[in-house]
Symmetry: C2
Subunit: 204 residues, 2 copies
């Protein structure tokens, strides 16, 4: 891509590592590396130790597996939440997005990943057994699957559904349909088909 | 922004640090932090140590200040380059962009920053004295200023120009004009004005 090979192994290695972050290309990674080079050494030390410290010492909620430094997470410890509903999500980011809608008042179960044979992640790497155990305690009436609509998400949803069948708990999935602001003509046929099948009574 | 305060100080600190990278918002920073959390500890160790290692051990070309692990950089040590022309740029990224055009065959002088009183960076923090010294050796006939067109870039260019006056070296600046693919009607008046003043004989 470039005519000059800048031949700094130290820079190359830092750029390689930064470019391993999701959605960060080599050009942005180089920009970040040069930024860190210009920073005082103490700031770079703070940067790397915050990351190492997080990775080494992070704790998870014993109930829902959400990141939580001390015991139960803010959702599980909130007595006003509906304890009969559990929403299964891939990550904390999904929790924050759903919370942001203001439409959900139940609990969560954070998988922290998704079944992905390509990345070597199988069902046993995720806290699915803990979910089955949680449901087994009898308080939960409904499990809502809110996973991404891709192969990994569908596979994970199907696996969890099968594990939950013996418990008899109601299992639902978030609705698929045409997003607000999307043009029908540009919506893929699978989504549009689902949107027609799952049509709702019109109301204002 | 979010209804749940996820209250992990460890995660917060890592997100704060990652969000300090240029152009990285808090949402992307959270995504990166959660990615690093899912990675094996050894990978995170590799990530942070590559950055620390770079910051602690990077070396610069003694002539042009470009990043170079061992002595002269690949440009300065290339005997086929025109040693009578030096192009002054802010960073290695600019070197790579100019090299990419294939239109420049001289040497560089990498400032590694720009005069910016807001960030506490003055002329003495940049290798401008080294540039004057380099020009003083007599081999250089022209210094091309290739700095960004913003207040900091213009200030730095003017400062360097003044420092070079006593040497009598020719000082030029890269042309400002309408970029390929830009619409005239959406081009700002300053750029369009410069483009008219600096018009060139038409040729095919």
């Amino acid at each position: 891509m470039y005519k000059v090979n800048y031949r700094s192994k130290l820079l190359e290695e830092a750029v390689d590592q930064i470019a391993s972050l999701p959605g960060v290309g080599r050009k942005s990674a180089l920009r970040h590396a040069l930024h860190l080079l210009k920073e005082p050494a103490a700031n770079v030390e703070k940067f790397t130790s915050a990351i190492m410290n997080m990775r080494a010492n992070i704790r998870y909620c014993p109930d829902c597996n959400m990141i939580s430094d001390s015991g139960l997470c803010p959702v599980c410890s909130d007595s006003s939440r509906d304890r009969s509903t559990v929403c299964v999500v891939e990550s904390l980011r999904d929790v924050l997005s759903i919370e942001n809608t203001g439409q959900y008042h139940g609990l969560y179960h954070v998988l922290g990943g998704i079944i992905s044979p390509m990345d070597g992640i199988g069902p046993d790497d995720l806290p699915i057994g803990a979910l089955v155990e949680r449901v087994g305690k009898g308080e939960i009436r409904e499990v809502i699957l809110a996973l991404d609509t891709n192969m990994e998400g569908e596979t994970t949803a199907l696996y969890i559904y099968r594990q939950l069948i013996p418990s008899g708990v109601k299992v639902s999935a978030i609705a698929r349909g045409v997003a607000f602001g999307d043009d029908l003509e540009y919506t893929d046929e699978f989504t549009l088909g689902k949107a027609i099948l799952n049509r709702q009574l019109f109301s204002i």
